[in-house]
Symmetry: C2
């Protein structure tokens, strides 16, 4: 950043500056009544707020502070690797490797112990096996569901995704925020009833 600055602070500020770029990574989900695509920075904020408000739905043993830290950085690898639309198999090829490289570079801007902590939280989120990660993943599925429902279909409609595929995508909520699951089923049924989401195609005969 500049000569004569404390080297530890200089590394922290370099990371903070780099993270500004997450505001330019666009997701498929749309905001504000469909006016534009959501970016990953504001999505991360919205998730963190959901975490604060819906903490009562987290599994026993969840540490909300760790969840918030996790959610705040869960998408920073997209600065290098981009946002891969969940329902597009082709763009998800090679995603894991691209994201690992991105995590090395971006978290590596930080002082070592902060790099280790945040990269660890990101890997925990990706693995999704601890209570904290399960709840964070559940939030990451639930927030786009709300945006699509409130946006009368949003990216579901735009990409012609069907009820059965959304249900599979939402499945981690069942473990990560068990008491939210009935509302998820109810919202998806209502989305079909209102024409926001296409029903599952009939089985091939």
């Amino acid at each position: 950043m500049m000569d004569g600055m404390d080297p530890r602070l200089a590394r922290q500020l370099a990371f903070i500056q780099e993270l500004d770029r997450l505001k330019g990574i666009l997701r498929q989900t749309r905001v504000l009544d469909g006016a534009r695509q959501e970016n990953s920075a504001e999505h991360s904020w919205h998730l963190a707020v959901c975490g604060v408000l819906l903490a009562e739905h987290a599994p026993p043993g969840t540490d909300l502070t760790r969840v918030l830290r996790m959610v705040l950085v869960h998408d920073v690898v997209e600065i290098d690797a981009g946002d891969a639309f969940a329902y597009d198999a082709a763009v998800n090829v090679g995603k894991e490797e691209r994201e690992l490289l991105a995590a090395e570079r971006i978290f590596g801007l930080l002082p070592d112990e902060q790099a280790d902590e945040l990269r660890g939280l990101w890997m925990e989120f990706e693995a999704g096996t601890t209570p904290d990660a399960r709840f964070a993943v559940a939030l990451d599925r639930f927030q786009p569901l709300l945006l699509n429902f409130n946006g009368q279909g949003g990216s579901w409609r735009y990409h012609a995704v069907t009820h059965d595929r959304v249900l599979v995508r939402m499945a981690p909520i069942q473990e990560g925020a068990p008491t939210l699951w009935p509302a998820v089923l109810q919202l998806l049924d209502e989305a079909v009833a209102r024409g926001y989401l296409a029903p599952a195609p009939p089985p091939a005969s």
Copy 2:
């Protein structure tokens, strides 16, 4: 949101939906090499990340979890009241009253005890007298400073703000993140040296 939903969850989801609008509230600060104005949702995310990374600069007794909760909701009143540019005295007239009304309406969407908690955190931030609020306010001053510095002047240049006025605006960092203050002075001096920020005008003779 829909019939038959648990009333507590329905209120939480109404609030989460309302908060989507913060993504449409534009600040004077610019992101991404000046390509566009920053919105208050992504600003809130960036502040929260700064809180996680710069926690070592918080005053003794700061509770980082409370700071994160505070920072995540510190700007939601702008959904009704708009963002008032700090260096424009005219648009700040009546700001406090507009924001109080906004806080009543927006936090009032939530179940009562959550409304009380988050409105309380917002008021604490506005008062800026507890260690948690002081640190949160310091972050809220420091993040635009970084964006303006990294953006070669950004909103300082656009609005012809001078070094002396920025220094007054940054003053809460001295108490809220004392060990960051030398870097603030250094960044502002460097900003003047590089022509990002105009020096103080000469005193009237």
